[in-house]
Each structure stands twice: as C-alpha cells, then as structure tokens.
Assembly symmetry: C2
C-alpha cells in the first residue's frame, strides 16, 4: 500500500477517505482536517487566546499538538480528578508534554480547590461518577477560561464522541439537546466562554494513530469509571455500521450539522440564563448545579464524619 | 413465570412491558396493541372497506387475523411475485388461510398481469430485486385498492421495520422521507388510497409468537433476496440496543412520532402530484416510476429475445 500523497510506503489506511498515508502525510492530513473544521465552523482566529482541555489521552494531545502546529496561541488546562492511580499518571503525562513543548499549562486539582475529587462526589451525592465528573469538568473549565482571560475553550471530542452523543439523543428524542449540539458554541452570556470541538472530523482510530505517529507519550488507560458506559455501546454500534458502510459515521454526524440540526434549533431557544447566587457563574436555576452538588457533598460528608 | 393478567402459566415474556402472558392473554394483548394503534393514529373505522396486504408471513397474518377479530371489514390481497420456490408456497399459505377463515381474497399475479415477475424485472432493468419488488408492490397495492373500491390499504409493517427505516433515514438524514414517515397516510390525491400500518407497536418476535399461538400456518422463509439487506443490519443493531435497554426500540420510534416527526414535516410539503400519462396513477413525474420500469423491461427483454 502506498501513500496517497507522496507514494512512499503507507502506514495507515482510512477506508472512508479511500486513502492510505505515510507517517508525515497522515499527520499533515490530520492537521488539515482540524484546520478545515476550524474554518468551516468559524471556531478560532489567530488572535484568540485558546484554553485547551487536556486529559492526557490521545484526543486531547492530538488537539493541543495540532492547534499548536497550526499556529494558534494555546495554553493547556488539566483537571486533577482524584481517581485512584488513573489521575496521577494522567497529570504526569500532561506535565511532561507541556514541558517538552515549552507550552504553558494550568492545573486545577478538584480536591485541593473544591474539597472533593470525583470519588468523594460519587460517595456523598446521588450522582454516579461520570455524572459528577462531567458536571465538574464543564464548570471548572468554563470558570477557569473566564477568570484567566481566555477567549475560547477547546475540547478534544472526536467524531466517535459526537456521533455517539447524536445517536443517544436521537434514540431518546432529546430535542433540546439536539438543538444545542453545535461543534462551536458562541458565548450567549457574560459568564460563558465560547467552546469549540475541532476534532469532530477525526475518528478515535485517527487521533490514536496521530498521537502515536507524532511520538507523544499519552495516557493509554480508559478511565476505570467508563466500563459499561452506554456511550461505549453506542460507539460499538456505530463501528459496526461503519464497517458495513465506510463513511457512514461521518455522514451521519456531518449530515446532522448540515440538514438535521436546524430542524431542532427552535427547541433550544428561549432559555434564560442568570448568575448563580452562590458562585456567580451562568445557570438556569437560582443556584447552579455545581454549587448544589458541592453543598450536598459538604452536608453529607459532615454528617458521616462529624 | 405467571401470566400478568390471569396468573395462569405464562408462555411468553415481554421485557419492555415488564410482563409475561399465557396464550390467551398474550393474543388479547396483541389485539389491544393493534386497537390502540388504530385509535391513536385514527387509522380505521368500522365503516371502512379494508384491503389487507398479505404476503403469507407472520406479520401480514397477524394483521389480518387481528383486524378480523377486532370486527373490521377485511379483504386479503396477495401479490404473486414469481420468486423461485418462495412465491408458490406463499400463495398456498394465503389461500389456505382465507379459505379456512371464510374471508375474501384478491390475488394479482405480476407475471400474468404485467408480463414480468420480480426476477425478470431485476434481469431486464438496472434495479436490484428488492427495489423492483418494493416499487411493484406499492404500485399494484394502491391501484388494486382504488379499482376495487377499498377505502384503506393496511400493511403489516411492525415495530422492527419502522424503527430500522427510521434509523436508516436518520443515518443519512433523508429529511424528506423523515417528514413522510407516518403510520397513517391520508390520501392526498384522487389516485392515492389511504394507507395504514396498524402493527407498529408490535415487534417481530411478538407477531411471530401471535401467529404461532393463534395456530396460523404461515410461510416461515425469509425472501431469498433479503440476504445481506441493510435493513437486516439495522434490525440487528436495534436488537442489540434493545437487549441493553428494553423498550428503547419502541421509545425511539414512538418518540419520533411524538417529538421528531414535526421537526421534518416542512421538508415533505409542497410535492405536487399529477396523473401518469401512461397508466393514470398518481406520480410526481410525467410517467410514473412503475410504468418507466415496465417500459424499460419490455425494451430490454425484446432486444435480448428478438
């Protein structure tokens, strides 16, 4: 198999593009896909100060590496979740990468700054770990981006993530969520930062290959809490469809952006945001969901360890 | 396991209803599901003269049996497709059932009345067998219903059929088809008959069980042309989801009818129908797709066997 671009020996085949690439041309191809997404969805400009969410996995390293190579001004942002052996290793990989590249990095340790890591939140509130984690990450990412003066927050959601979220929302006809599914979300309130997902044209397999071919030392483990997650079933389902019909995953998600999304736009209109009476961040309720979770955790922890 | 209704020994469990039934109560349950669908979607009245499409398989026998037992005025309609050993056996089963029940039956033999069965249409036109078959059945069902003075045409599409069609239309964002997906389609033109799908609340497994428990001698074979059909992949995918989360297949399809369908309604508006210049049936083009296929088959067949 030869590289589609330079005819050198290919190292990876991408069936949905009906193409194969050598190491160098594949990395260029990935970065061009990122640039194309950034341009098509008007995600970023070279003047933006971009906070890049970096977990230490293949997706977030692909995002940081590609945006940096494409000439954007990036700062990494890592959240220490406090999950067993998983979190310390993730932090190590992120710090090593930032140091090696000479790129700025901000770290928030949930337990240090907010008293509770994910395991404690799962213990002291009714939320399952993935729910507590998602809420915490969305909250501290947005808050940090605003407080540190960044204009955009970039996250490493890939095509598999986006397509499986879309499938889940369609299976349950979550029309409000469908209306809000945008790879670039402009800030609709002074306390919200613009968020972008520049990897939605890349599959998990492609971000994995890019990370490896760029020689980045990433955190290989799945989070131990993800075992049995519905999103993994949806990803498996979509991979079966992709195997039978290469390209269907991409046309499903990009087709939604082009033709489906507008059908649900009306469902997500008319949401009024205000400032949380505790922390001042944007919320639809009096006290935001994060502050309510934290208050609940503090009360339960105190009653259990008086 | 005991019957949910009468506490007799259960013969079938339906996980999504969290219930089990004995033979009699299961059959009643199935017929009530049909009645509920008929009522909810305003499909039929007791004054309707209903033409029931009967292939000889489990779904169409469930439909005919249930509608007859519910007191509707039904006539069976069987199309002889001319497919190998499959079609003669199907016809036998349908004729035996109609005779046993003393119910009227109309038969159209495609090859006798239109010169070509499905194998010849697949041979002499660019269409694959399933495409030629679907087009032919839709055409002759509608035409026969009109010519014989029926007010409604009922077909045996079940929940698995409806959900897999929905999944396929969503994967490819066929917004026009999505807007037209209705279990009851009122006649929008003088040359169209109203069509209804009263089995969309029943799974394949349930129509199979009903047919067996009612002691109906049905045609067990899948059509030999269906092997490898995409719809079978979609059904398998939906069964995997159903296994992980009982009820998701039904909530996916019924949720679409309730919340998704309206989002696409605009996409299917504004289609102007006229009468085919050859046969006079409703069409969007000068000559309808069926007449064009037949003309093509006649020309090719003549040039091959001059």
């Amino acid at each position: 198999m030869k590289c589609k671009t330079c005819a050198a020996k290919a190292v990876i085949e991408t069936r949905r593009h009906n193409a194969a690439f050598c190491t160098g041309c594949f990395c260029t191809h990935v970065e061009r896909q990122v640039q194309k997404t950034v341009d098509t969805e008007k995600m970023l400009s070279k003047d933006d100060r971009i906070l890049v969410a970096v977990s230490g996995g293949k997706d977030s390293f692909t995002l940081w590496e590609a945006l940096h190579r494409l000439g954007y001004s990036t700062t990494g942002y890592h959240i220490v979740l406090g999950i067993g052996d998983y979190s310390p290793l993730a932090r190590e990989k992120v710090e090593a990468y930032a140091k090696g590249q000479g790129l700025p990095l901000i770290i928030t340790d949930l337990k240090e700054e907010y008293d509770f890591g994910i395991p404690e939140l799962a213990l002291h509130t009714p939320r399952v770990p993935c729910s507590a984690c998602g809420l915490s990450k969305r909250y501290v990412m947005n808050r940090t981006a605003l407080e540190e003066g960044f204009t955009v927050l970039a996250t490493g959601h890939n095509l598999d993530d986006a397509a499986s979220t879309l499938l889940g929302n369609l299976l349950h006809w979550q029309t409000e969520q469908l209306g809000r599914m945008r790879p670039a979300m402009e800030a609709t309130h002074a306390k919200l930062v613009k968020t972008v997902k520049p990897l939605i044209r890349l599959t998990e397999r492609e971000t994995l290959a890019y990370t490896m071919l760029r020689g980045i030392d990433y955190h290989e483990d799945e989070c131990p809490n993800a075992v049995g997650a519905t999103s993994l079933l949806y990803k498996d389902i979509l991979n079966q469809l992709e195997h039978a019909s290469p390209g269907v995953k991409q046309s499903f998600y990009l087709g939604f952006l082009k033709k489906g999304r507008t059908a649900f736009a009306a469902h997500s209109d008319g949401i009024t945001l205000k400032e949380c009476e505790v922390c001042g961040q944007a919320t639809t309720t009096e006290t935001c969901a994060f502050c309510r979770m934290m208050e609940q955790a503090r009360r339960r922890a105190a009653s259990r360890n008086p």
